[in-house]
Subunit: 241 residues, 2 copies
DNA sequence: GCAAAAGTGTTCTTCGTACACCCATGT
DNA sequence: ACATGGGTGTACGAAGAACACTTTTGC
């Protein structure tokens, strides 16, 4: 990234992605930790190529970090306050890591590029967490799934972005029937219910939930799933349509 | 605009505004016609100052064209396809108006600025059409309200923007209680109903509409409005809250 | 008194919620 | 047989749609 010509990208415009996954009854967000001293976490982000649509750019950024191509993706907000750059954080990062920045070939021009004020387009993505192999890029120390209730403090306004993304996900979940993107291809009704409960952070009555979902007529009922537990075996379902 | 230093603005990022007004039972959109040969209409738009938030920029652009400051404003979508610039239209504009462009001091550098690929943030605004005195800016030949059913063909993807803005308005109308921004301070129930009918392009049953609106508990009932017509005088209402 | 249009009330349906009951499964 | 958890059915109440009726106004 640093080595490419800055003219290859639109200046002062970036994309930040909130990547949602689901496991162990919790909604998770994929967050890289930056390879700098000082504990900086930042959402997966990137720039927009001159010949690239913003949706394409978002897909590219997501593929870099998750390895998967077909991802549910939705633009949810643009963040463009004049003060959002949070100069203090950047200054702290630079003062703590001057040597590393030089070592990576970041000349003053490149530094100027990344320290300028940015407007950022927020996208949220929904993925089957089992299909993702999180990949670091060159400026990551690590990349991990964090339960949304235990997110670290992110740089700039990235925590606010996650909150806004979750809000949008809740609004769209029923209307656009997108929740299935967070589950494996087949799932039980209970698993789907637990997903909803994780997203909305509240319980749903078991029987009414089942009725509501089946009345949507988007699920195909498959064979039963025998778990070995001492109870009736639940049906497996697949999203259809 | 042309004369200012291009570095005062974020490059390749613009704001386009869909300004909705309401009169004569029709939803209207404020659209300037560009002062160039060839009949070019474009949504009111502008750039984002380096020290300006995107919301501030949108307000500034709106105030320039409408003269009013307190406007309901909502970001609805970002348009950023790589091909959206519609180079053909720009080429036609330039080829038809080379002399004008020179006359206005548009040097080749400034031309490069406006002909590069742009990402644009879409905002829609709701205004009381009676409070607006449409103002041309330096590149407008005229600026007028057009019923949304009779819009001219706009440049680039601006017609698509209007469609998307309308879609968002419909989704938000009840939830955010924003329709009142399109009416004068006091109005009758019938006028409010006709506004809804214009926005959704479908009729509503009179009595149920009244019940639904009054049950929101956001309207204050004022004195009656005597029109001189041979029928019961309707109440005036004011939005409260 | 009458037509026109505003205001109000009543029923019916539909939807979501709450409660109850039955069924399969492995110990 | 029995505990466990999955599937289904019924009853209640709120919200919306369709209908009818009453009231006010100027001629």
């Amino acid at each position: 990234m640093y080595s490419r010509n800055e003219q290859d990208y639109i200046q002062q415009l970036s994309i930040d992605c909130v990547i949602f996954g689901y496991r162990e009854k919790q909604l998770n967000v994929l967050v890289p930790k930056m390879d700098f001293r000082g504990d900086f976490w930042a959402l997966p982000s990137g720039y927009i190529g001159q010949d690239e649509g913003i949706g394409q750019a978002a897909r590219r950024i997501l593929e870099e970090r998750t390895g998967i191509q077909t991802i549910y993706l939705d633009q949810f907000c643009v963040f463009g306050d004049a003060e959002r750059s949070n100069a203090q954080v950047l200054e702290r990062l630079i003062s703590l890591n001057g040597d590393k920045l030089v070592e990576r070939g970041l000349n003053s021009k490149a530094l100027e590029w990344i320290t300028r004020r940015f407007v950022s387009i927020g996208y949220y993505a929904l993925v089957d967490i089992n299909k993702v192999i999180p990949r670091k890029n060159e400026i990551d120390e690590s990349i991990e799934w964090y339960p949304i209730t235990q997110l670290p403090t992110l740089i700039m306004d990235h925590n606010e972005m996650v909150a806004k993304a979750l809000e949008t996900l809740r609004l769209n979940l029923d209307q656009k029937l997108i929740g299935f993107n967070l589950l494996p291809e087949t799932f039980t009704m209970k698993e789907l219910q637990e997903l909803y409960e994780a997203i909305f952070d509240k319980p749903f009555p078991r029987n009414n939930f089942q009725k509501k979902i089946l009345d949507l007529n988007v699920l195909e009922r498959l064979e039963k799933k025998f778990t070995g537990a001492a109870n009736k075996a639940p049906y497996l379902y697949r999203f259809q349509q």
